[in-house]
Symmetry: C2
Subunit: 184 residues, 2 copies
DNA sequence: CCACATTCTAGTACCTAGTCCTAAATTAGT
DNA sequence: ACTAATTTAGGACTAGGTACTAGAATGTGG
């Protein structure tokens, strides 16, 4: 006997999770059943065909790249007054948290604040020289982090930008960034 | 006249870059040429068919998830003495840099240092309370960043971890992290 | 042991988004 | 006007499927 239907199906779920690139033919051979059986299983389990699986993976990763790369800012900038102030919003998704406890990894909050501090300065090449930051309280999955940045010191090529990130009215992160206009 | 072959082809490259999900049929309509022309173009330019493109994207994102998630550390930890010291290596790839100037975005260096500082502490739930960091010099595409972390102060649930990141013998990043064991 | 249900297998027609190939038609350059 | 480059058309074939029908094998209850 080859395995009951239920066992096969739960094994199937695992297989596709571990390796989404498997074709029906390959798993059929693995389970020693016909290709049609695998297809019926996929129907019942609501698992899409390989091409669709890959497409969804590609979509997800593409969306990430797109939201990161064009503006090169983490979080969505909702208002920006160059050389003065700005606000960005980052909703903590599953990608941002530790699996075990659903707490956001610090560097995402840092990245949000840092890229906002850099975006605020009106120049082609802006880099961070130094920063002092505090993670006031842990942020968890689903929370919407709103970062407010403002320039507090302005010199020809050096800026001090203060960033405060809140969830609702709750302060979660504070940072002071020393950024500079670099000569390209 | 519809556009010269060269213009069409360079537009094609851009289109596929902007949206890898396009089928030949769709771009053919966009360029107002036949599907075969697009296929010849793809051949000449060495652009694979859509399904292959998506597959490669899926592969890349799959690999990333696999290499990032298990340890939840950015960079590869090459040595680790719990509660004492550790070293991790991060090679700056195209994903880490600003497109314009090939300079690594600060938060990747921060992420490497931060996750090493957290990994070093022997406890289930470790979070960063605060940090003071300095980006000593910009890091560019292809450079291999080696972060050395050591615990310089140890209290029951609070640690100060100093991190220095170098490219060869060149200091590029310095950070002092205040991390703590949290009660889960 | 029979009957009936569940489960599995086989096979056909069809789909998309292609490849590979041949051949004809069109356009451009000189 | 002639040749060469470019474009288009079409046919045969492919992978990895969907959707559907029908039959075979394997249970399981009575």
């Amino acid at each position: 006997m080859r395995l009951s239907k239920k066992k096969r199906q739960s094994q199937l779920i695992e297989s596709f999770q571990k390796n989404p690139f498997l074709t029906d033919e390959e798993v059929a051979r693995q389970c020693d059943v016909s290709i049609q059986t695998i297809r019926l299983d996929r129907m019942e389990l609501g698992i899409p065909e390989m091409r669709e699986r890959l497409k969804h993976m590609a979509e997800r990763s593409f969306d990430e790249v797109r939201s990161l790369s064009p503006e090169e800012v983490i979080g969505e900038v909702v208002s920006l007054e160059l050389d003065h102030s700005g606000v960005s919003v980052l909703e903590i998704s599953a990608d941002h948290v530790f699996e075990r406890n659903q707490i956001a990894r610090g560097h995402y909050l840092f990245a949000q604040a840092n890229s906002l501090a850099v975006a605020i300065v009106n120049a082609d090449l802006v880099l961070t020289r130094s920063a002092a930051i505090r993670f006031v309280r842990p942020v968890t999955l689903g929370e919407k982090c709103v970062a407010h940045a403002k320039v507090v010191q302005k010199q020809p090529s050096r800026f001090q930008v203060d960033v405060e990130t809140k969830v609702l009215d709750d302060m979660v992160f504070q940072g002071v960034f020393d950024v500079y206009r670099a000569t390209n």
